[in-house]
Symmetry: C2
Subunit: 207 residues, 2 copies
DNA sequence: TGCGTTGTCTTGACAGTGTAAAACGAATGT
DNA sequence: ACATTCGTTTTACACTGTCAAGACAACGCA
């Protein structure tokens, strides 16, 4: 048999194959992309048989769902990091936006899984919660500029939609390499342009 | 060339299998989605053997590439239709933006193929040309507002990036059903909100 | 007309995939 | 010590994309 026996020593695999699979899946996703992602590939990376994952994840989509949930948590952290590097409501919003874009560029496949794949199951409570938490952060950032709860008014919701859209659009288009002049900018200069674009969402309505 | 009649009972199965396959592929894409798209499924829809497509498209990705190119042409038409329903540079831009979003909502799988799949080959001349044409239209719309060629300055390019980003972000997020309050609006009211958001890209700099 | 060539399609095969069922062995409880 | 349970492997099946051989229609040219 060509396939060498997975595991060196005694006992069950790691004791925790589930997290080992998640780790393997993150690698698989990062270098094969969403469309090249393979459950069997994950199993190989974790050095277990191709059917081993079944015990921990109902099917391939369930593994991707768990991965997407992890992704949203990292995504939220990236936005928070971007925000905390700034001071003042407006600067904080653009900081969070930069975090958003940086995350997308750093983990393109994960970002694609989270935002433009139909494979993750958004009815899954964990994923739903993780995605909502990220959204909450965005709403809170907008609320800090508006000085109210954006949910309370159509104008508030419109602000949220505008801010989210522009940042998401930037991220998606940068990922698709379809804005050459932006993709080719040196990172720091690029960030300046991005910040300028993001800032536009709130045309000097108030300080 | 001899068989131009639609249904030659005898002879080759189709007079023009290539276009029949493209048509089949459009259906396959629309109801299976990018991630469920299958070359064999297309062949079945066209009622030919599973290997027949190989003569007309190098592989599955080549078929998707041709489909994406068709998509970009329809996409451009949708933007132009949206623009021509309006008068004045600003209204035209938001009209085109509405066309952009409407296209995405009308053909979600195609839109996903065009903007967030790695399967189409953007080095293909036809696809490249079709995608560029759509981009040109956008630049022209922005140029009409600015009264210059946006390519000539960083400010112009930034305007283009901002306009494109916000509209693309809106489309992508609406597709992902992740802005419930927008998704649940009645279409006409939704369009008003979208127009308001799109209009923000150009904060009252000039009429 | 006949014949060779080309182009179109079918058949069959292969490796790879996801997933279900069954077999097997380690870990655990009593 | 034994039975049970749980984690994993093995086996199997239907499906995919693609390749290699054919069968056969259409065309060019005698």
């Amino acid at each position: 048999m060509a396939t060498q026996h997975p595991h060196p020593r005694t006992g069950y695999h790691h004791g925790d194959l589930r997290t080992a699979l998640l780790k393997a899946a993150r690698l698989e996703l990062a270098d094969k992309g969403v469309e090249g992602f393979t459950l069997r590939g994950c199993a190989r990376r974790a050095m277990v048989s191709h059917a081993a994952p079944a015990h921990h994840f109902r099917d391939a989509d369930a593994l991707l769902t768990a991965l997407a949930a992890e992704g949203f948590r990292a995504f939220l952290a990236a936005m928070q990091a971007g925000r905390q590097a700034q001071a003042g409501a407006r600067a904080e919003l653009t900081g969070a936006g930069l975090g958003y874009v940086r995350f997308a560029l750093a983990e393109p496949a994960l970002f694609q899984l989270m935002f433009s794949s139909s494979r993750p199951d958004f009815d899954d409570p964990d994923l739903r919660q993780a995605a909502s938490a990220a959204f909450e952060d965005l709403v809170a950032n907008v609320g800090r500029i508006r000085g109210d709860n954006p949910r309370a008014s159509t104008a508030g919701l419109t602000d949220v939609a505008a801010a989210w859209s522009i940042v998401h659009g930037l991220a998606a288009l940068l990922l698709g390499q379809r804005m050459a002049f932006l993709n080719n900018l040196p990172p720091d200069e690029r960030d300046d342009v991005l910040a300028a674009i993001i800032a536009r969402t709130f045309p000097l309505r108030e300080g």
